[in-house]
Amino acid sequence: MRYVAAETVEQAVALLAGETGDARVLAGGTDLLVQIRMDLIEPDLLVDIKRIDGMFDITPENGGYRIGAAVSGAMLGEHAGVCALWPGVVEGFELIGSTQVQGRATMAGNLCNASPAGDAVPALVAANATVRIAGPDGTRDCAVADIPVAPGKTSLGKGEFITSVYLPARSDSAADAYLRFIPRTEMDIAVASAAVSLEMEGDICRAARVVLGAVGPTILIADQAAKTLVGTTMDDAALDALATACSDLASPIDDKRGTVEFRKDVVGVLAKRAAKIAQTRAGGKS
C-alpha cells in the first residue's frame, strides 16, 4: 500500500483516476483505517485529502453553509451558525462514535461508507443537502440522497471524490431533528433512526421531509409520511398518521440487534418524536 497526501484537488483526482488497483480516499479514517486493519479491504493506494485547501473550511454561501470534506464532528459542533441553522444535521453527525472518533470523523466519510445506519446521512437527506464532487470530468454537484446505492456502495465513479457538503438556506420558522434507537446511551450503531425537517407557518406545518435510517438497504425517503404533516397543526392524529406511514415504509432486516417487527414499530415512534422536537425548535426561533 502507498500513501500520498495530495496538495490539490486535481492531484487527488489524477491519483485516484490513475490507480489501476484499489484506491481509497483518506479523510478522517475512522471507517477506512478500521477496515484496513481488520483485513476487510486491501487498498493499493491511500490518497489523503486533508492537505488540500478548503477541506477544513466552513463557509457561508447563499444563506446556507459549504462544509469542507475533512471537517470533523468536533469542528462542526463548535460552529454556532451551522448549529443554529441545521441542528438536526449536527446532532445526527455528533452521535457517531466517541469524542476521539468525533475528532476525526467526517460527514462525507459517513456518507461514502454507505451504511444504511450511518447517523450523519438521514438528516442531510432531510435537509436536501448536496455534495460537490471532483472527478476526471471536472466538478459536479449531486444530492446527498443519490450517493448511497446499496450497503457499502456509492454512485461515485472512478477517480471521483467529495470535496464539500452544502447545507442550503432555510426560513426562520424551519428546523430539523434526528433521533436513533440504540440499546445503550452512547457508542453504538443505530437499530432504527429518523430525521425530520419542517417548515412552519404559525401553527401550521407548510413543508416536511422525513428520512428513515437503518430500516432498509439504504436510507429511505418517506415522502408519503411527510405529507401526513403538511397542512396540519401536527396534532396527535397527524403524528399518529406519520408514525404509521413510516412503519409501513420501513423494510428492515432481522438481526440480533432488532427484529423486523420491532424496527418497523420503533422507527414510527422515532419519526413522531423527532417531528415534535423539530416543531419546538422551529417555534422557538421566531
Binding site: G29, D48, T99, Q100
Partner: protein, 158 residues
C-alpha cells in the same frame, strides 16, 4: 517500498521518523520512539487506550497513520507531568485510587485533560459522555469520574 519521512512535534519537541504507509501513529510512538504510555487495547478506535491529541483534537492514535502526523502538534501522556511534578488530574487519579490495572489510565488522562481545556467546569454527565470512548474494565468508572470532577474543581481554584 521506500519509507515515508515525517517531521512532527511531540510534546513540544521536534521529532523526525521514517514509517511505512500502513503504520499507525500508535505503532511509531510505541515501537520507534519508546513512548509506551499510549496502549493498543482494541486497534479499532473503540477503547480509547491509545488517546493522544493531534493539533489539540482528541483522537485515537491507532486510527491515525504515522504519515498523517507530518507538520502536526502531537501531545501524549508523556508530556502531561511537568518533570517530577504530576498534573492535577494525575494526582487526583492517585488520590481517589481511581485505577487498578492501569492500562486505560494514560488514555483517560489525555482525554480528561482535553475535556478540561475545553470545558473547565463540566457536569458529571458531561464528563461521562466525554469519556464514553475510554473503556475501563476494572474500576466501574465512578472513581475515575470523581477524580476528574475533583481535579476540575482544583484547577478552577488554582
Amino acid at each position: 517500498m521506500s519509507k515515508i519521512h515525517v517531521t512532527t512535534n511531540i510534546n513540544g519537541d521536534a521529532v523526525e521518523y521514517l514509517c511505512e504507509p500502513q503504520e499507525t501513529l500508535l505503532d511509531v510512538l510505541r515501537n520507534q520512539l519508546n513512548m509506551t504510555g499510549a496502549k493498543e487495547g482494541c486497534g479499532s478506535g473503540d477503547c480509547g487506550a491509545c488517546s493522544v491529541t493531534l493539533d489539540g483534537r482528541l483522537v485515537c492514535s491507532c486510527l491515525v497513520l504515522a504519515a498523517e502526523a507530518e507538520g502536526k502538534q502531537v501531545s501524549t501522556i508523556e508530556g502531561m507531568a511537568d518533570g517530577e511534578e504530576l498534573h492535577p488530574l494525575q494526582k487526583k487519579i492517585l488520590e481517589h485510587a481511581a485505577l487498578q490495572c492501569g492500562v486505560c489510565i494514560p488514555g483517560i488522562l489525555v482525554a480528561a485533560k482535553a475535556l478540561l481545556e475545553k470545558h473547565p467546569d463540566p457536569t458529571e454527565t458531561e464528563v461521562r459522555y466525554w469519556l464514553a470512548g475510554n473503556l475501563c474494565r476494572c474500576t466501574g468508572y465512578d472513581k475515575i469520574i470523581a477524580a476528574v470532577m475533583d481535579a476540575a474543581a482544583e484547577m478552577r481554584g488554582a
